[in-house]
């Protein structure tokens, strides 16, 4: 352990740490723009510079390792002046007006300029000019605001293995964008929004749906229902500076009522429904292969994450038959709201507006896919990210923190704890096992607190197996079968898993893939900035919500039993097939 002196303090950071890490561990703040937690530092922006005694130039702390005896000043006048100059130069090329900007609330550049005491433009240089890319349903890019930090490039390439954006051109003309600075629709972008979650400024943001939602709420003819995804309740509080991991389910429901929604429902309901449909689909595939000697694609992959679906359509079309045909819970909800619910309420489905609140930007893309009109209308009309809902609650003039708690409406607001955990990586798998194991053996999943602990970590690829013992007669063919499952989150991890399956190195029965690191709790539409620590806090909150529920398994949800009795009939039946299931299409990666 080297000994260093930082700002006059003696420190003993671990070997191989950078100056930045050592400073952070000691409670010293060094601003960063291009640095991304857990990724190889680029050293591009240089706002993290520090002074090291005995060395002429200032050094970028994010990529300079500590060495024995270093004497470091992180905030000397020289450092502050140099840092200010760097930010002033960035601002001289920056094309944006904070008061009109989506990021005005949490922009890192604006905050930095403010902290450094920059009060007037210093350099008036040539600006690169602003080019707006609104070619895709979920993501809007504004090149004029881009400070070329390349965080989005790192995320899109290293975390998501998509590679939709990359620096194009050279020198002053460089843009951080899809091929030849064209629109995102010209390349294979999966709309995950991880770029919007890491961009320090307003250069990549989600497409705004708040205006459409306000207009619908204002229209007396419209019956506006809202569904909230499981992950929102564990993160929305952060938009109001509550500590990460604060559960705000009850306050969120009250806020939505104040905003004027006619019914407040839960994507959890259709998460439970997904387990019934997807669990039956898995059992059917297993039966086809093991008993009937027929053919069915195994492993079965989960289908709730639209970014993953689009990723498979571009990069792994050979696995499309393996993906469960179940629509995502968001889309199941939309299809049912405009059929089952509208019928029950005696409302013309044309007047029903379905709004989703999602931790995800890809859901904005998903809701306008051509397959998602099975109710006869666009099943889901608007998708708000967690961030957008936070903003709308502020616009509604509500003091969120002080709101009383209230409950969701029946029947589409009722759910089990199994639905809550859809928010976490490994959660869909655990929820499915809770039901499938019990259906097959007649006994509850033999695990403490019903948690499949090996699947709950932030490890990129996780596996588990479970031996079926004491199967009930209907499922006796599964007796003694070792059910093997795998879970991946983040598309780079998913790619690694897919490659091992493709090479035949590993075999599984069921595989969960989530587009975003950590699962939906780490979604591209969540409050910024999501670190692993925050992921863990949200995951814990979700488990708390699950454990606090009277019902923990999807098949126990009475509203689910009711919808099969009243409307759907059988799992995988005719109605389900029409409303709850879908199909996928191979896509060309580059627009010709």
């Amino acid at each position: 352990m080297p000994e260093i002196i930082m700002n006059g303090m003696k420190l003993n950071p671990a070997d191989n740490t950078t100056i930045l890490d050592a400073a952070r561990a000691a409670g010293i703040k060094i601003p960063t723009l291009c640095f991304l937690e857990g990724k190889t530092p680029l050293g591009a922006c240089r706002v993290c510079i520090v002074e090291i005694e005995g060395s002429q130039a200032l050094s970028a702390s994010c990529c300079t390792p500590v060495r024995q005896g270093m004497v470091i000043h992180t905030n000397s006048l020289r450092v502050r002046n140099a840092r200010r100059m760097i930010v002033e130069l960035l601002l001289s090329e920056h094309e944006g007006d904070c008061q009109y900007c989506d990021r005005s609330e949490d922009c890192e550049l604006k905050k930095l300029a403010n902290e450094l005491g920059i009060r007037a433009p210093k350099y008036t240089g040539e600006k690169t000019g602003s080019k707006i890319d609104d070619t895709t349903p979920a993501i809007i890019r504004d090149s004029g605001k881009c400070i070329k930090c390349r965080r989005c490039v790192t995320v899109c390439n290293a975390v998501q293995n998509v590679g939709a954006i990359f620096p194009q051109g050279r020198g002053f003309e460089t843009t951080i964008s899809p091929a030849f600075a064209a629109g995102l629709d010209s390349v294979a972008c999966v709309q995950c929004g991880q770029c919007t979650a890491v961009c320090p400024v307003g250069a990549i943001i989600e497409r705004d749906h708040t205006k459409g939602v306000w207009a619908a709420l204002d229209d007396p003819k419209k019956h506006v229902v809202v569904q909230t995804a499981p992950a929102i309740r564990a993160s929305l509080g952060e938009a109001f500076d509550l500590p990460p991991g604060t559960l705000v389910t009850g306050r969120m429901v009250t806020a939505l009522r104040h905003m004027g929604f006619d019914a407040i429902f839960d994507t959890n309901f259709t998460a439970d429904l997904t387990i019934i449909e997807e669990g039956n689909e898995l059992l059917k595939r297993l039966k086809t292969v093991l008993v009937d000697g027929g053919e069915a694609a195994l492993p079965q992959f989960t289908s709730c994450s639209p970014g993953w679906i689009k990723f498979a359509e571009y990069f792994y079309p050979e696995f499309l038959p393996n993906i469960s045909t179940c629509k995502s819970p968001q889309q199941m909800f939309g299809a049912l709201a405009k059929t089952y619910y509208a019928e029950k309420k005696g409302i013309n489905p044309e007047d029903v507006i379905v709004v989703s609140v999602m931790p995800c930007t890809a859901k904005k893309y998903e809701c306008q896919r051509e397959e998602m009109y099975d109710s006869g209308y666009q099943d889901v009309d608007y998708v708000l990210t967690t961030r957008e809902l936070g903003r709308m609650i502020k616009q509604a003039g509500l003091n969120f923190i002080e709101l009383p708690e209230s409950e969701m409406d029946a029947p589409l607001g009722m759910s089990s704890g199994a639905a809550d955990i859809f928010a976490n990586t490994g959660g869909v798998m655990e929820a499915a096992l809770r039901t499938v194991y019990e259906v097959v053996t007649g006994r509850p999943l033999p695990m403490e607190n019903l948690h499949v602990t090996p699947l709950t970590t932030l490890e990129g690829v996780k596996t588990a197996s479970l031996k079926i013992e004491g199967a009930v007669p209907d499922w006796s063919f599964l007796e003694g079968v070792e059910v093997r499952v795998a879970v991946a989150h983040g598309l780079d991890n998913a790619s690694r898993l897919l490659e091992t399956i493709k090479d035949g190195k590993e075999n599984f029965h069921f595989v969960e893939v989530m587009t975003c690191p950590g699962g939906c709790i780490g979604g591209g539409g969540q409050p910024r900035y999501t670190t692993d620590e925050i992921r863990k806090a949200r995951i814990e909150a979700i488990f708390k919500e699950d454990e606090g529920k009277a019902l923990r398994k999807s098949h126990d949800n009475p509203a689910i039993i009711q919808i099969y009795e009243e409307f759907l009939g059988q799992p995988l039946g005719e109605k389900s097939h029409h409303l709850l299931h879908t199909c996928y299409q191979k896509r060309e990666k580059v627009l010709q």
């Binding site: 390439n157 998509v162 590679g163 939709a164 954006i165 990359f166 620096p167 194009q168 051109g169 050279r170 964008s177 899809p178 091929a179 030849f180 390349v187 294979a188 990666k589 580059v590 010709q592």
Partner: protein, 179 residues
């Protein structure tokens, strides 16, 4: 007045070939090149270079194919292509006009000649006429400074070119085949 300099450059030679090459042929040759590099790091730039040498420029389908075969995202391939001015994605015209702007040519009216060419062809430097007859480029010194300003059309060297004579000069090439 015509004077032939050296031999044809490899680029021009293969460009001629390209005009008879179908995209299937191109992909076939490209695949052989890529196979030679299979498994090596940093194959992208040499593969792009070979492709450009073969075709004179990098058409989109070639870049897409390289991206697929090397498993490198298309945006990264184009990022590299647009970083190096060596690479071109625009097919060049039948006749490439290079105007020397070396000191001697510049002083003796090279710039005016260039402007006249731009005006006459209605294109700017780096562009190609719509009928794909002419591309306009700036050349390095051709070593004919004594006879500046110098303009090369393909492999022909034209010396002491005057802006007023541009029309006449171009006439020789209009409709003419590949020299």
């Amino acid at each position: 007045m015509k004077a032939t300099v050296e031999s044809k450059t490899f680029n021009d030679f293969s460009k001629n070939q390209h005009q008879e090459m179908s995209s299937t042929d191109v992909i076939h040759i490209l695949d052989n090149i890529i196979n030679e590099y299979s498994g090596t790091e940093g194959a992208l730039i040499p593969v792009l270079q070979s492709a450009q040498n073969m075709l004179g420029y990098l058409p989109k389908y070639v870049m897409i194919h390289i991206s697929e075969r090397l498993g490198i995202p298309y945006s990264e391939v184009t990022g590299v292509v647009s970083f190096y001015s060596y690479f071109s994605t625009i097919p060049r015209g039948r006749h490439v006009i290079r105007v020397c702007l070396g000191t001697a040519c510049y002083v003796r009216g090279g710039k005016e000649v260039l402007e006249a060419l731009e005006k006459e062809l209605s294109i700017r430097v780096g562009e190609t006429t719509e009928d794909r007859q002419f591309s306009l480029e700036i050349g390095r010194c051709f070593g004919a400074c004594g006879l500046a300003p110098v303009v090369m059309v393909g492999d022909d060297v034209h010396q002491r070119v005057k802006p007023a004579k541009i029309k006449e000069l171009l006439k020789q090439y209009e409709g003419a085949g590949n020299e």
